[in-house]
């Protein structure tokens, strides 16, 4: 819990989310500047730092910002580091792709103040478009990679990462996985240092910081030397350790896989040697060779790519069991049973349970459960926008490129109004390409935060190259999917700092787009009219579909005491099912043979009443229905009132 993150009680044990533990580690490390672009599974690290910074004012002061995108976040942290402050950039795995231009060059410059890049990988793609293994960025950029294997290590190793960064003058990649970010565990609190944030005098260092070829050639060799020293260091560091055991088959495990290995060995009643690796790049060769002495075979347990496995094969000719010879899967996240079955096969011991039989039975039973995929929320303005897009597109055979956010869920039935989702901002670039290639109309959709993140350069490209498409910016005034973080369009900043809102329409107009209209999507009729007008315009037309995220809208109205109307289905309903098969509000459901609205879920947007062909959905008219309390519940003829 967030209040435990700032608890000044050294030695006390608390139950923290992995991401909260990482935030606490950063605080114990005395960070100065943290910057992020939110992305699951990394989001709660920065969110926690943002939530607690006001409470830590005058005690342990730091800045935290929600940057426009990951590259900017990374560069903000570079600025802090070059000034001698501790900088931290926090992002999800694909965010590192965005920041990679800065990452690969900054490696050569080197860190002055400690610099940690938190890369949260998502094995299993719980909330991501791909499953990349960011340890390769360590090898690619020639930077050290540290991986914690439990929540407490998440906190401890962040502190260590800052120390290593400062000791060797290099940025450190701190690689986590979803199951660490979003797992909870017992954390032993350390000391929160006393620190007032004080600005420092700038000292330039042109030879290292200006990567002109003449400097870069030198800096590349400097980087190689630093890395060699770190490799030595990792061979002696206590974050890597050998656990002695019997026999001639050993196991090397890194990150969360170590936890699965420990459990699997216990289930198998096996006592074999284990090497726990918390630094996966550069591979601590000396330590590994020491571990392999006396062993005939070694098993590598690591999630995603055969990263250690490949390095090991280059290092020795010992027999290796891993992904490359099929003992462990290369796709998706590991679990105890996957690791147990792999080790069982290698060692010839029987698994503790018949896992495949259990899974088969479970899957058969799960098939009886009706599907329940994640859905857009009741009152979500995206539902209204896509309802209109789908209506217009159905008639036209239109291409619908889209982007990354809550609205990507509109790709599912019944809306199916999202036809591409590739990476942040791609909707606009893809629309440019489609504009050359297809003869029909194109309606691209992108969220407000995503547009600011990476949509702007592509829109400039569209104007410059005379593309022909409609871009709908779905502006719900927040970064929704990741948990309502602010972005430049909101003007909101954490820690009570003053911000300035960047106007999306001014940006669009400034680029040179001539058709720019702002519409509230709840006004279905106007939305449809505007979209048709935009399609007729010919050229780049932008519609800003603006309505706050319904979750925020509800909260705001509750706070101000504004009445929230409840909608109800009257007897005029003829069961045409338009509200369920074309429009998809999750508050609308079948109650026996009638269409009904779940009064606990309805947020009173009223869009269903506008799209109903029979006009059968109305506000529950009893004024008294809006009164809070128990009496109205009993007298409301529609039974439309429940405690909120």
């Amino acid at each position: 819990m967030v209040k435990d993150v700032i608890m000044d009680a050294e030695g006390k044990k608390v139950f923290l989310l992995g991401n909260e533990a990482i935030a606490r580690g950063a605080i114990e490390a005395g960070i100065d500047v943290a910057a992020t672009y939110p992305g699951t599974p990394s989001s709660e690290i920065a969110d926690t730092l943002a939530m607690v910074c006001t409470s830590l004012k005058d005690k342990m002061e730091y800045f935290i910002e929600y940057s426009t995108n990951e590259k900017v976040a990374f560069e903000v942290a570079i600025g802090a580091s070059l000034a001698g402050k501790r900088g931290m950039a926090i992002m999800k795995h694909v965010g590192v792709n965005v920041a990679s231009d800065a990452l690969l060059s900054f490696a050569q410059v080197g860190a002055r103040g400690g610099f940690v890049l938190v890369s949260a990988d998502d094995p299993g793609m719980h909330s991501s478009q791909n499953e990349q293994d960011n340890r390769w960025y360590g090898k690619f950029a020639m930077l050290p990679v540290i991986e914690p294997s439990n929540v407490n290590e998440g906190k401890e190793y962040i502190k260590l990462a800052f120390k290593i960064s400062e000791k060797f003058g290099l940025p450190v990649i701190f690689r986590t996985v979803t199951r660490l970010n979003h797992s909870r565990g017992v954390v032993k609190l350390g000391k929160i240092p006393e620190k007032k944030f004080e600005k420092v005098k700038w000292n330039s260092s042109i030879k290292t910081d200006v990567l002109l070829p003449i400097n870069a050639r030198v800096q590349k060799t400097v980087l190689q030397k630093k890395l060699a020293k770190i490799q030595e260091f990792f061979s002696k560091s206590d974050i890597n350790w050998i656990e002695n055991g019997k026999g001639t088959t050993g196991v090397i495990a890194s990150g969360l896989s170590y936890a699965y290995v420990k459990e699997a060995l216990e289930n198998l009643s096996l006592d074999i040697p284990v090497l726990k690796l918390s630094s996966t790049y550069p591979i601590p060769e000396k330590l590994i060779l020491e571990f392999l002495e006396g062993l005939e075979r070694v098993t590598i347990v690591e999630e995603l790519d055969p990263f250690i496995e490949l390095h090991l094969k280059a290092l020795t000719d010992i027999e290796v069991f891993g992904k490359m010879n099929g003992y462990f899967p290369v796709n998706y996240e590991y679990t105890t049973h996957i690791v147990e079955e792999g080790i069982a096969k290698i060692t010839g011991v029987a698994a503790s349970r018949n896992y495949s039989q259990i899974i088969e039975r479970g899957e058969k039973m799960a098939q009886l459960a009706p599907p329940r995929p994640p859905v857009l929320c009741p009152g979500c303005p995206h539902i209204a926008s896509y309802y209109v897009i789908k209506k217009v597109a159905k008639e036209n055979g239109t291409a619908l490129p889209s982007d990354i956010g809550c609205y990507t869920l509109a790709a599912t039935k019944p809306l199916e109004a999202v036809e591409t989702c590739i990476c942040m901002g791609a909707s606009v670039g893809v629309a440019n390409g489609l504009s050359y290639a297809v003869d029909g109309e194109i309606i691209a959709t992108i969220g407000d935060s995503t547009f600011l993140h990476a949509g702007i350069p592509a829109l400039i490209d569209a104007v410059y190259n005379n593309a022909n498409f409609v871009l709908i910016i779905l502006d719900n005034n927040t970064t929704g999917m990741t948990g309502h973080q602010p972005h430049p369009g909101t003007g909101l900043r954490p820690c009570g700092l003053k911000g300035r809102a960047v106007s999306i329409e001014d940006i669009v107009k400034g680029i040179g787009v001539e058709f720019v209209e702002v519409v509230n999507p709840y006004d279905i009729g106007k939305m449809e009219k505007t979209l048709r007008k935009a399609l007729e315009y010919g050229g780049v037309a932008v519609i800003i579909s603006r309505m706050p995220c319904s979750l925020i809208w509800v909260r705001q109205r509750r706070k101000t005491g504004e009445k929230v109307p409840v909608y109800t289905v009257t007897d005029d309903c003829n069961l045409c099912m338009e509200c369920m098969t074309s429009f998809t509000c999750p508050a609308i459901f079948m109650k026996e043979d009638k269409v009904a609205i779940n009064e606990n879920m309805c947020v009173g947007c009223g869009v269903c009443s506008k799209i109903c062909p029979e006009k059968a959905i109305k506000i529950c008219q009893q004024e008294i229905c809006w009164v809070r309390g128990g009496v109205c519940n009993r007298i409301c003829p529609e039974k439309a009132i429940k405690f909120r």
Partner: protein
């Protein structure tokens, strides 16, 4: 208390928005306060709202946050069909606490899927050998507090049908530590009502 080498694996399932993360936080906090090792794995991000949710809580001698398949000692399902969806985690040794109040998914409303009867769900789970304790937890929550307190009612019921490694007082205390003060009275009532349901 759990002795050396002992563990208790609890799988909480339900629908996003039912407060399953809060239930897990209450159990976790109670365990920490009782000085018991505890780990958990949660669902965040894309599946947060309206989707199916699973949360693992593991107490005692464990290393990884995930319960192995077939390894759940207890399954607490806040929604009936979600118990079926995650049944790969149960075995003949599993005790199941089941809320019988349905949340009908869209797939059923538009006629693309069928919602099995509660009797059928119970029969299937009992067919494996699970001990199923089912009740309308939401009705109890509505009665003593608000429907939103269903998650706490379920924890109360859990503490009755399973021997947790700490006393009821630890749970009560954890409810107060995890939830904001204005919700304390209502949720302690819900916790007790859940305990008394069996």
């Amino acid at each position: 208390m759990l002795t050396d080498g002992e563990k208790l694996d609890i799988l909480l399932t339900g629908v996003g928005g039912q407060g399953i993360l809060t239930s897990a936080a209450i159990l976790g906090r109670a365990a920490v306060n009782a000085d018991i090792n505890v780990m958990g794995a949660e669902t965040h991000g894309m599946a947060q709202r309206g989707g199916s949710v699973e949360v693992h809580i593991r107490m005692g001698d464990v290393y990884s946050p995930l319960i192995p398949v077939g390894g759940a000692d207890v399954m607490v399902s806040l929604e009936p069909v979600e118990a079926l969806r995650y049944s790969k985690y149960v075995s003949e040794k599993t005790t199941i606490v089941l809320n019988t109040r349905k949340i009908v998914p869209l797939s059923v409303s538009i006629g693309n899927a069928e919602y099995p009867s509660i009797a059928k769900i119970t029969e299937i789970l009992e067919g494996i050998g699970c001990k199923v304790h089912s009740f309308d937890a939401t009705a109890i929550a509505e009665n003593v507090a608000k429907p939103q307190a269903t998650n706490v009612v379920m924890i109360g019921a859990l503490s009755k049908v399973v021997k947790l490694p700490f006393t009821f007082e630890y749970l009560e205390n954890a409810v107060k530590l995890v939830l904001p003060e204005k919700l304390h009275k209502m949720n302690v009532k819900a916790l007790k009502a859940g305990f008394e349901a069996f």
